[in-house]
Symmetry: C2
Subunit: 453 residues, 2 copies
């Protein structure tokens, strides 16, 4: 799918000189984002749009066009799709609404037929466009987002915008965002296939209302998720939300439990919450997945350690008591520390105390995963302490997976330090537990797919 | 409890001139926060601390002392508590650790006995102090927090610090924070009683590891929650976390289900998550609670509307289909809008569209609660639109409760506008559903307590 989603040239059909119009915003965003290819506005009534020469029709452009962004009235879309086909366009992104989602099924079928006859692929209609950050391609109405290693696919553009804003405020970035609206042609499986091929993407986030071709999705997801974890929110758990889905994108939601079972089978991890979607994907993008159920919690703060223990065990994982031999090898800790599990290093824990404890636990086979909580007290140099944790991760984290939570006041510096070293941090305590659960799920999936693992 | 928690004068025993020492930070925080009463450092080795005259012992201070902050070694605490008793102090806040939480039960019992004999109350030991914002009293190691109408009680100081940092980054404030550590004397019920008396507190947040005196808590909570909603996180759901609690604050966690049942009986609403604790408390501080199960969702964005519908119905609430008569009275909406439930006003919804729809729904008896989603698209003036929603809230929200979610890019302005008008906003979609569930729970509790309601 790379040739479909990675254009050298983009035409904007319905380009406009009026700020506020979709056709204006699209041209402006392509220019402002510094798209590496060529941009061609198309509008029979204009000569120049935002400094670029404007063409009456896509057929008048004297160069090859790989992608067309279509932002005109629904009724005029079939003719334009025909022209895109003739021009040899590879992907037509149809922003226009007014198709199956309001009952105009026939109009939608028509554009699909036209496109098929030319080998042209369609994204949408009723979609919010796409972002391919490595090409600086911002073919989208939504705000810009930094480069990162998470990809996002969403039927709903507004949902995508919401996730993007949360990824941003979280200090993370995206490789790619693809919104696919009514997915008359390009569907979830095609998009997954592209994420699979895209070298910038390390983990995949999806928002799914309903699948049209379940078989195709399962086949593709089963394969993709071996290389790159897929984390999804599937809505439509109840009759009311299933009803709402139909009126939103014309999709049939289907029984949630059936989806749940299918996703489990193809290694797609389901979450309920947007923050969790982001946090779990982020952790999975950079942490090894191993089989095993036992988690050791290391914390500098009792209360959050207890809360995390609840989250972990409610997920069906275990926070086991440590055997005496192991507790003895932690006897270098000051007396106010607890060598039970959670291991409480207390508020004055420094880099060395974290490092030495993580070393001992990493080398023991009592735990499969280590969950680390670091909540810098006001009087502690958080950057100093995180260095000890980061060193332990680098020395032992490739064999014994560690998931680190940083919370509280003034933690940005510590978080940035770890992230710059390539160590993913979570800022949500519950998501720490969910991430370990997702890693275990992933290891089980990989084991089933390839038992020699 | 007002005379206990609202001092005119505070002594800091163990005051220090060394930055980094607890006794230094406490004096500095009291000065910096602009405490309205008098501050007296106590340390036999110093003459002046941070510009204030320092006394060798609390008994040497020539004025009445209402509150003493104690930050000295555990072993010297009994003598100092005795002196506080003699001096007529009302509350001694013991920051020192080294009592029951590490097995020194006898030492803890001794200080309680001494205090009792003088009618002196103790907070702690092993606590992180307190903040009474209306007095600018920051008798606490943690960072400052703006004034607000939420009160927070936590055994764990670090947990309190974490909540405070999240309340801050959320743009909200606290009336009061009280950390109570081992709660050798002042316990959850005493603190609730103070929150009850405090005119600045509108809703109460609690983090509970275990209760010592369940009967007393239930009696107090049953009464307090009639006036002010209490929202709590109770940890200790599993054997491992119960074990962790014991080593953390020496408390016995007890069976979670028993707590759950007791809390339900006394009107305390339980949540699992810190963000939810804050969001639900905030919404409950300013929204009427009514009986009823039916929720109408009004949104400008389909996907999040569907996700919210899932959250609401999974909570056992209902998002019913709207009857034809009601849908007819929404026929003024443009054709791309959906008059099903969720009512989808689509991305270009303006203030008037929101206002008119909220008016119609408020006056109908089809729904008991209205859930409003506003995710400003990039090309919309969010301040303009929120005015329509705020007007509707002010005109109808006192009879038909509305809970508003604002999410996405650049929503700070809209959120601030609503909050300044006294209308609580949530920034977490799941918490919107939980808030309505909590409001319904509250209405049921009030109905049981006072059936004539």
């Amino acid at each position: 799918m790379k040739e479909v989603f990675e254009p050298n040239s983009v035409a904007v059909i319905g380009a406009s000189n009026k700020p506020g119009k979709v056709g204006y915003v699209l041209v402006k965003n392509l220019i402002d984002s510094g798209f590496k290819g060529k941009i061609f506005p198309v509008n029979p009534k204009e000569k120049i749009i935002l400094g670029l020469r404007c063409f009456p029709s896509i057929l008048d452009i004297p160069e090859t066009i790989d992608m067309a962004l279509i932002a005109i009235g629904a009724i005029r879309v079939p003719k334009v799709v025909e022209e895109c086909g003739k021009k040899g366009v590879k992907l037509a992104v149809i922003f226009s609404a007014g198709f199956a989602e309001i009952g105009n099924v026939e109009l939608e079928r028509r554009i699909v037929e036209i496109a098929k006859s030319y080998g042209l692929r369609l994204l949408g209609p009723n979609c919010a466009g796409l972002i391919i950050n490595k090409l600086n391609l911002h073919a989208c109405m939504e705000a810009r987002i930094n480069k990162g290693d998470l990809a996002l696919a969403a039927q709903s553009g507004a949902f995508g915008a919401l996730v993007i804003s949360m990824v941003k405020s979280r200090g993370l970035g995206l490789s790619t965002f693809i919104s696919y609206g009514n997915r008359a042609d390009v569907d979830e499986a095609d998009i997954l296939q592209y994420f699979h091929e895209d070298e910038e993407t390390k983990a995949i986030m999806m928002y799914i209302e309903g699948l049209r071709n379940g078989r195709k999705f399962i086949d593709t997801a089963s394969k993709v998720t071996i290389q790159k974890p897929i984390i999804a929110i599937k809505v439509g758990k109840t009759p009311a939300s299933m009803r709402a889905i139909t009126s939103h994108t014309g999709a049939l939601a289907g029984e949630y439990r059936i989806y749940e079972a299918a996703f489990r089978k193809c290694g797609v991890y389901l979450v309920d919450d947007i923050l969790e979607l982001i946090e779990v994907s982020h952790i999975l993008s950079g942490t090894i997945a191993i089989l095993g159920n036992k988690v050791c919690v290391v914390t500098n703060s009792g209360g959050p350690g207890v809360l995390l223990t609840d989250y972990i065990e409610v997920k069906g994982l275990e926070v086991p008591q440590l055997p005496h031999t192991l507790r003895n090898s932690l006897s270098f800790l000051p007396p106010m520390c607890s060598t039970s599990n959670p291991v409480d290093l207390t508020a004055d824990a420094n880099a060395e105390r974290y490092y030495e404890v993580l070393k001992v636990l990493s080398r023991s086979n009592v735990c499969d995963y280590i969950a680390v909580i670091f909540i810098p007290p006001a009087y502690i140099d958080s950057l100093e302490v995180i260095k000890g944790i980061v060193d332990a991760w680098k020395d032992f984290g490739f064999k014994k997976p560690m998931v680190i939570y940083i919370g509280g006041e003034g933690t940005k510096e510590a978080t940035n330090y770890a992230e710059e070293k390539g160590i993913p941090i979570t800022i949500d305590l519950r998501s720490l537990a969910t991430s370990i659960h997702a890693l275990k799920f992933r290891a089980q999936y990989l084991k089933i797919i390839s038992p020699s693992h």
